[in-house]
Subunit: 401 residues, 2 copies
């Protein structure tokens, strides 16, 4: 975190010192997302991508409307996981031609909404073919579709695997030809393929390998496509470092793999564009969660900083969002950045449950009630992925700065 | 689940067949809580309690306003964990004299709200003494207080320990005399003690042991009380069986322990009432979660039932609410209760994440889209403890029936 600017001992986020930011928001706890960091991250990814590769933002990582609107201006398209997210994307001004919708359990009405909106639907089951055909007929509009593939390989290194083996996501490779045939028969507007092998992968070489395998698979399956492939969404799943010992992703091998894919696609799938779908990687490091210390308690030799925020706003930091072993997100006392002294303290929330922990026995600047605890790496899967109503405490605020 | 009534092969809840209930609610997914089961459970607990022991409902387990209103009529008081829950309790018609408020991080405004409402505040830190004294002075109202004790012993058998050792909850035993003295000096209206050693305990003998130890501790600390003890909240934490092999709690040893406590309290703390605070145990088994099968997918030999509900409504059933190892809640196909045939299937939700699992490879009646999946033991820590906004899907409904 050496890159973090400070003014008079305060962390600055979006150029604003933390206590001023808290006053501007008008309450704690809050999440703050930094436009400059978002833009810098998109620029860094662009620099690593060969020309012609599309970059999409996966809204699921952070659906705050203002942030989605900001990201829309930086990327080539938005990927959504529900009609709710689709509405956010369209309200943000996204061109429906550059919005795609994936999800293993799309409701009937969501498929109709997708056709009525003109977005691309990533088909994940034969059921969706029939429902989309009905929607087309009723609405007198085309259904733009791609097939989401559940590949016949697994990608290594992913924090969560979302492809390979038996999965509810996408169409098994073996079943793809039949689905393509049905798409052709139903008169849907076929545009391409989608794969998403896994998420939170910190190994560039393994991501590269997954991209190459995915592309290979698409080339193989494209033979059965009813019309030429225009769009190949190769997924994302690029990770960010959360815990001690984790290293930032090395993009060099990813870049090389994409260059090879780009070259081969030009000859074997002329007219098709490869697209990446990144969520956490674009926004995760641009966000912080800020809570205020309400009380400082010493219990049998241990220091507890009891804050007004906790797992109800930040489930992932509490370790209850898919983690098997709880580890601390990076945490600091944001208004005491110049303090050299350190004490071991646990940061907990206001909830009557031992699950409500933001940091367990970690080294922090000694602090007092009124101080501001900052949890870094909080730009993705924050408030929308947390049980905000739990125990009836107020919701957090969000600010784009 | 032999006790569940069915009509024409459908599970009945609150006396209503499941498909009719779904039509009444007007949507899936929904939670349904059965008044008769709630009342029967309260009656069973009353039958096991010696006369004179008070029974409180811990609103945190299920804060649905209609349910809180119903429970208010059955129990002797309501325990709340935030000003938000306090508002639900008071709106439900609870007498503030019988409402108590606990929480390790009460905000300043919450303490003022508590004084203005006349509820009992369980003090968890010296900080609260000063804030309550200020509130009293400003409002010209008394502050009713008890001291929440972090005991110097741990209770065994609890799924989550909330007392003993270093904890953010309550006041360490060793510090209680000083806090009692401060309460006296500040002129707060002292009423008693509160302990909550742990939750989800399925061992009656261990709960009994915890109650006896807690009572013993209260007797010891009562010597330093500024005024006679009127109220001793001995907590709850009684568990319900969720997983195969778990047995319902045996109340006999608990009942015996409470009788002994009652007898001894009459002589050593005359005028004091012992109170139990139960949440999950009163409501957990009275609730079901119901989701509709959207799709039936066969992926590489495994059956996936993709439903319109999932972890965003029922985080606990997905295994992401404090569980270390994910296990299946009891699940059935609620409109096929008469079907004898079984298949192994996984029940998943509509979210683009492998965390979105309601049941993994479990035996179910073979089912089709349109069928209703029922997750039992869902009356506590359901919607309020789940990330409902995750991925932008609709919220679940709730019905008291």
């Amino acid at each position: 975190m050496s890159e973090n600017a400070t003014i008079r001992g305060e962390l600055c986020w979006g150029g604003v010192p933390l206590t001023q930011l808290a006053e501007r928001v008008g309450q704690t706890p809050f999440y703050a997302y930094d436009r400059a960091r978002l833009a810098a991250r998109v620029a860094a990814v662009r620099a690593a991508l060969p020309g012609g590769i599309g970059l999409h933002y996966a809204v699921k990582a952070n659906p705050m409307p203002a942030l989605v609107g900001f990201m829309r201006g930086l990327v080539d398209g938005l990927d959504v996981a529900s009609a709710g997210e689709m509405a956010v994307a369209l309200d943000a001004g996204a061109n429906p031609l550059h919005v795609s919708f994936a999800g293993p359990g799309k409701r009937d009405v969501e498929l109709v909404q997708a056709v009525a909106s003109g977005v691309l639907v990533n088909i994940e089951s034969m059921r969706e073919v029939g429902l989309l055909a009905s929607a087309c007929e009723r609405l007198g509009l085309p259904a733009r579709v791609a097939v989401r593939i559940n590949p016949d390989f697994e990608i290594r290194g992913a924090g969560m695997r979302m492809g390979g083996g038996a999965k509810p996501f996408g169409v098994d490779t073996e079943q793809v030809p039949a689905v393509l045939k049905a798409i052709g028969h139903a008169g849907l507007q076929f545009e391409g393929f989608h794969l998403y092998p896994g998420s939170q992968n910190l190994k560039g070489a393994l991501i590269a390998q997954g991209l190459l395998q995915s592309h290979e698979l698409v080339l193989r399956l494209a033979d059965d496509a009813p019309t030429p492939v225009k769009h190949v969404n190769l997924g994302g799943g690029w990770g960010i470092p959360y815990f001690p010992g984790e290293q930032a992703l090395d993009l060099a091998p990813v870049s090389d793999a994409l260059a090879a894919i780009q070259q081969r696609m030009a000859s074997e799938l002329p007219g098709a564009q490869a697209v990446l779908e990144l969520g956490r990687y674009l926004v995760g490091e641009a966000g912080i969660y800020v809570a205020r210390v309400l009380d400082r308690k010493l219990s049998r030799g241990q220091v507890f900083l009891v804050t007004d925020g906790g797992m109800h706003h930040h489930l992932a930091a509490s370790g209850n969002f898919g983690q098997v072993i709880r580890r601390n997100y990076p945490v600091v006392i944001g208004n005491r950045m110049d303090t050299v002294a350190r004490e071991v303290a646990s940061v907990v929330g206001p909830l009557c449950t031992p699950l409500d922990v933001l940091a367990e026995r970690t080294e922090l600047a000694p602090s007092e009630p009124g101080d501001l605890v900052v949890v870094f790496q909080s730009g993705a899967y924050g408030p929308s992925a947390s049980p905000q109503a739990f125990l009836g405490h107020p919701r957090c605020a969000e600010v784009l700065v």
